[in-house]
Amino acid sequence: MIIVAKIFEIILPPILAFIIGIFFIGLFRKIMARIHWRYGPPIIQPFLDLIKLFHQKGFSHGPLFDLGLILSLAGSMVLILFIPFGGMCALGNSGGLLVILYIMLFAPLGIALSGGEGANPNISIGISRKLIIALGYEVSFLLVLLTLMTYYKTISIVDIVNAQSNFHWALFSPLFLSGIAYLMILPAILGIRPFDVVGAPQEISSGPTAEYGGRFLALFHIWHAFSLFIGIALFVDLFLGGGSNPVTFFMKMVVVFVLVTFIHAVFPRLRTEQAVRYLWRWPTAISLLGLLLVQIIK
């Protein structure tokens, strides 16, 4: 019986993550449409796009072009197993936050390699922008994670979630500074405006996806759904107590996602230097303050 529960626990989160991710993209386009005062596509439109994309003969530039994309999607799938998802966490005890940090490298690396094989300057510029922005938000992202780890004196995310049970969430504990810093860099992690210079359709014809056709674009959309899920699930796990069952967890994620969509709708797209200058100034300062606060308390 335990084995069945274990297998169930391993298979269910990725499927739920996929459904939630696709739902989030649909919700995203619907909210954006309503802000533009237009009717907007049905919520399941991304799902229809996926069906269409799987029936298109995409162009491939070579073996690495496919393998890089497959690697990045597999990396984000594995990452979901490490993140506690409403009481379920398949691989919670094999590595904790440090492994999460390092498995997060698979996705940008995979897409960078497959894009590089696509031999198109638009892609290379997109990838170099993606890595620069990632370097920008990693500074405060690492500081936030370090404050959490030193505050709870553990590197396993499951312990952090359990420590926040019955309503004393980390967001309202002395870690509120790190929570605010994480919220400030969340648009950069998810890659949406004001930091979506990476896949800017107008400037570099949608950056890394310039050469992706049928199946490749489908895999990229699934990866985008997963990365939306991961970015927000991490925030909910680390700062909002992570929810005892998937439904409460999903509710918290929707709230955070709608907030981030509104930020997306309002802000223009920052240039790369402006984005990095901002990321290295305000979120880093706040997360440093959070770290000092935790050091003083300890």
Binding site: W37, P42, K52, H55
Partner: protein, 186 residues
Amino acid sequence: MDRKDIKKWFKEPGKMGHKYSLWAVYFCTGCGIIEVPPVITSRWDAERFGVIPVATPRQANLFLITGYVSVKTLKAIIRTYEQMPEPKYTVGFGSCPINGGMYWDSYNTIKHLDKYIPIDGWIAGCMPRPEAIFIAVTHLWTLIDKGMATAHIKYREKYKYYRENQEKVLKGLDWPPLYPIEDSND
């Protein structure tokens, strides 16, 4: 508008998928492009039918030829059309791409575009209004439904003739033929 017809989705997902998620190449080939922004923005929102503009032909399956085609633009149109993934549909705006329109006797514009690339459908009107474009999209749905939107297959089979016409108009295309041409086939 049989988007909610679940049975049809399971029977032929490919057709339904292509019907309800037409991604148009955002590439203005003539004077008609002035009609496309109102189509995709708030007033006549095309996204409710799943039609959104995408940045590169690699991601698109709908190609809107908006307006007259000069010899120079023909080169870019052929290049973009060849770079689109396989099930692709083209729609011509106005009468200029059909038979040259008011530039019928000009030395520099292409008279019959379907001598060079296959066209699925035409919209009449010297720059059709957004409603006409939506009607065209619905016609395209019926074509796809009935399996008559086979321009891309015709292009693949008759590529030899298309290539000859293209080389006649544009002296020496500087990219290799898309499909291998067997010289003596008939």
